[in-house]
Structures are given as structure tokens and as C-alpha cells.
């Protein structure tokens, strides 16, 4: 008799033998005892012998079913894509109606990653491009802690936004280097593209510097507007928003004039600072000639020059002979 004490419900065959024991035997899962019982039983019971043979065949056939790997490679590719998407950082987008027009402000968990002047033409495309790298959410959240500072800045009542920045949208280490150098140009002062290239010790990379500034992801906070062409023209800003550059510079007290080729700074109304020894001069002063671009700053006013620690030149004495009567600048 086969063992009866193992499992609960056991179907027995007409001969009284447990079918489970035949299956276990076919799978090679029987104990020595049961193994012997099965073998002594099948010598006398042809039905069970045939059943056991069928289970053995079934087991063999099942084992011979090939592993189907067709489609694994494409499933893996899809999985990798999904994992990348799952890992996208969150980007919260808010639009704020600023005094200089609607601004799109994008924040990650780490800080402000994006400031964009909202264009009337392509408001949707702009966010679609971000979806690739971010889980983009339109945020109704309160961003007044950011906009209060920006508003104060645009009203000439604050010199720095002091926003916490996430540099995730910066495209390269080179761009980070350029934008870091741009951040060091003080409020109310200017340098040129060449000047900035010299500051990062890459005087031949003027065009690359201009490109890096063009794609500044957080304008205003990173003051790419303080960088101009070597001839004093404003060149470009956020695409073709050159008037915006003029307006922002006006906030910082930089006079801009309309020239034949477009907007340019009024060089005759700006002091020239020499960073090397922190001296500032009137633009007509001989001392101001021949200062290396990377060592030169245009400064909006003599009070501004003094605020950033520049001393008046002994020759042209800009403190005694100011270029113009200085008023509190405010555009808005």
C-alpha cells in the first residue's frame, strides 16, 4: 500500500493507488519508500504503469518546451526608457506677470532651474521640450518669495535676487563656467563678451561665450544682460528681445542709446573701472585707454563704483568731476 499520511486530499485510482505518487515518481520527487512502492505496484497494475509512463512523457515534453526569448530585447529597451522617465526630476512651472511681461519660472526640488520670457508664439513647444528630461507640472503654488525679490529688483530697490539655483538646465561645464563668471559682474556694471572670455582665460572663445550666455537658463538671476559687444552694442538677449536688455540695464542705471546698428550703451556716460587695482576713471581719461578687456568694467555711476570698492583715478578725478548728476534709477 502506498503511504497515506502525507497530504490531505489524495485522489486514488480504481486500483487503490494514489495518483499523486505516480506524478511524484515521474517528477523524481518521491522518497525511497514511495519509489519502491510505485515500482512494485506497476509490475502488477498495467493501468498505473501506463499512467506513470504518460506522466513521464508529459514531464519530458514540458522540459523540452524551449524558452521563448523572442521580444526580450525590445522589452528591455522599453523598460530602460521607462526607467529613465521614472527618474526624471520634477519641474514645477509657474507663470508670473512681471512688469517686463509674463515670465515662466521653473523650479526643481533643488531650486530655480528656469526663467523664460513667455513668447506669444510658442508657449506650448517650450514646455514640450522639457518633458524629455523632467516630469513637468504646471504649478499653481505660491512663488511670491521669488517674485517679491524680482519685483523689488525691477523697481531698482534690490540689487540681487539671491534665488537658490539648480543648474540642471545648463548644457555643459563650459557653460557653467561662463555663467559663473557672468554672475561675478556686479550690479550696475558691464563687461564685454571678450572681457568675459578673458576672465575665464579663454580669450579666443568669444563666440562660445556668447552662445553660453544666449542659452542662460536663468536670466536676470544670472546677469547675462551685463555682457555686451566690444563696440558697446547690446547685441542680443533671450533671442531677439533686445529692448528687454535695454530695459533691464536701465533698471541698473546703465544708459542706452539708439545707434545706427541698434541699441548701444552710452559709453561717454559710463565710468571705466580697472579691476586689477580697483581704480575708476572718466571715459575720456588717458588711464582708461588700453585696459585689457578682461580687466575692464563699465560702471553706471561713481556711487556704484565706490560701492564695489573702486577708488577714483587721481588724474581725471571722477569724484570731483562726475559725468552726470546721479539720480536713483527706476524704470517702472
Amino acid at each position: 500500500m502506498p503511504t497515506q499520511n502525507r497530504s490531505t486530499k489524495r485522489s486514488t485510482l480504481s486500483c487503490g493507488f494514489a495518483e499523486d505518487d505516480l506524478i511524484a515518481e515521474a517528477l523524481g520527487e518521491t522518497s525511497q519508500d514511495v519509489h519502491q512502492q510505485v515500482h512494485s505496484h506497476i509490475t502488477t497494475c498495467p493501468i498505473c504503469a501506463r499512467l506513470l509512463e504518460q506522466y513521464r512523457q508529459l514531464h519530458t515534453r514540458l522540459r523540452a518546451v524551449p524558452a521563448a526569448e523572442t521580444g526580450l530585447a525590445s522589452a528591455r529597451r522599453a523598460l530602460d526608457t521607462s526607467l529613465v522617465l521614472t527618474n526624471r526630476p520634477r519641474l514645477l512651472l509657474s507663470v508670473w506677470d512681471s512688469p517686463i511681461g509674463p515670465l515662466r519660472i521653473g523650479r526643481t526640488d533643488k531650486g530655480v532651474a528656469l526663467v523664460e520670457f513667455v513668447s506669444q508664439d510658442d508657449p506650448k513647444d517650450a514646455t514640450a521640450a522639457l518633458e524629455k528630461n523632467f516630469a513637468v507640472e504646471q504649478s499653481e503654488g505660491n512663488i511670491s518669495s521669488l517674485t517679491h525679490k524680482l519685483e523689488a529688483y525691477l523697481n531698482g530697490k534690490r540689487q540681487a535676487l539671491d534665488w537658490v539655483i539648480d543648474d540642471v538646465l545648463m548644457r555643459s561645464d563650459f557653460q557653467r563656467q561662463v555663467l559663473k563668471a557672468a554672475s561675478e559682474i556686479p550690479y550696475g556694471t558691464l563687461t564685454t563678451y571678450l572681457g568675459l572670455a578673458e576672465r575665464i582665460s579663454q580669450p579666443k572663445a568669444v563666440r562660445a561665450v556668447a552662445q553660453a550666455l544666449r542659452y542662460n537658463p536663468v536670466p536676470i538671476q544670472i546677469p547675462c544682460h551685463r555682457i555686451i559687444g566690444s563696440n558697446g552694442s547690446l547685441t542680443g538677449y533671450a533671442g531677439n528681445r533686445i529692448a528687454l536688455k535695454r530695459d533691464i540695464l536701465a533698471v541698473e542705471g546703465i544708459p542706452v542709446v539708439q545707434s545706427k546698428t541698434g541699441f548701444a550703451i552710452a559709453q561717454d556716460r559710463l565710468y571705466v573701472g580697472r579691476q586689477q587695482d580697483h581704480i575708476f576713471c572718466r571715459p575720456s581719461c588717458e588711464t582708461s585707454k588700453g585696459i585689457r578687456a578682461g580687466d575692464r568694467l563699465f560702471i553706471a555711476s561713481h556711487t556704484r563704483a565706490e560701492e564695489i570698492g573702486y577708488a577714483p583715478c587721481n588724474i581725471c578725478q571722477p569724484d570731483l568731476h562726475p559725468l552726470h548728476k546721479e539720480a536713483e534709477p527706476s524704470l517702472f
Binding site: A24, A75, A78, L83
Partner: protein
Amino acid sequence: MTLSDQQPTTKKYDFHEIIDRHQRAIYCYLVRCTGNIDDAQELFQDTFLRAYRAYISLSPDANHQAWLFRIATNLVKNYIRSRERRRKVFVDGAAPAASHSTSSNSSNAEDDLQLQETAHILLKALQALPFRQRTALIQRQFEGLDYRLIAENLECSQDTARAHVYQALRKLRIRWHEIMNDENG
């Protein structure tokens, strides 16, 4: 930011490494459980995405293969349930009754599989088994899991896990012989 950057450094393996090690076993398991490639691919993706989210809280000494099989098995359970439901709606709605339990994609998928005739019959017969019997048998027969792991995956006792496997084999034997006799007669 790459995936590996986000992995906790205390873990022994990068998650991609875990995928590399177990993707074949999990994928083949899913093909056998579903009988078609489209569904297997979908469940494959779901399995690893779910695993990825849970990986951070997984104990460092966990058996990854057993853990992945458990996740996959749960998804197969939901998948079979929703397929049963869909089929019911189909039949009730007087649409042409499906002649067999495999989904409408199966003919394409089966072409892709290029299985031998018997393998084909057996896989098809597997799809007719209830969830527990089906997954228990596949885990035992194809993936070589022992009853302790199968029991864990199906949240039952080892005896019950064994009973599921045996019951599945009983049904398969009968089905297989029906088909063989049809062909011979």
C-alpha cells in the same frame, strides 16, 4: 542624471545589474504564463518598474530572484483576472466566442515563438489552467523553483503549492491525451 546615480550606495547591486541577471528568467516565465509576447512584454516592464520602486526598501540580503518572481506572479494574477473579465464581457456581448483562452494576439505571438507542435499544444493547454495551478506548474517545471519558494510566491503552504503542481499535471495529461488521440484517430 543617470539611473545609477540614484541608487543607494549601500546596496550591493545596481538595479540595472539586477535586471541583467534576471530578465531572461522573468521574461520566459511571463511568456509561459501569458502565452503571448505582447502581454509578456507589458508585464515584464511592470514587474521591473514595480521592483525598481520597491528596491530601496528591499532588505540587502533578500533573494532577488524570488522577490522578482513574487512581483511577476502577482501581476500575472491581476492580468489573468482582468482577462477573464474581458472575455466574459465579450461573450455576454454576443461577440464571436473565443475558441480558446489565449488572447486575440496569440496567433501572431505564436508565429513569433516558432514552437514545435507539442510545445505549442502544451503552452496553449497551460493557458487554460487556473492561475495558481498554472503559475505553480510553470515555476516548478520551467523555472526550477522549489516548493518553499512557490509557496511563498503564491502565499500558501508548501503542501498546497505541491498540490497545485500535481493538479495542473493531472489536467495537462488528460488534455494532452485528448489531443493525441484526436490526431491518431
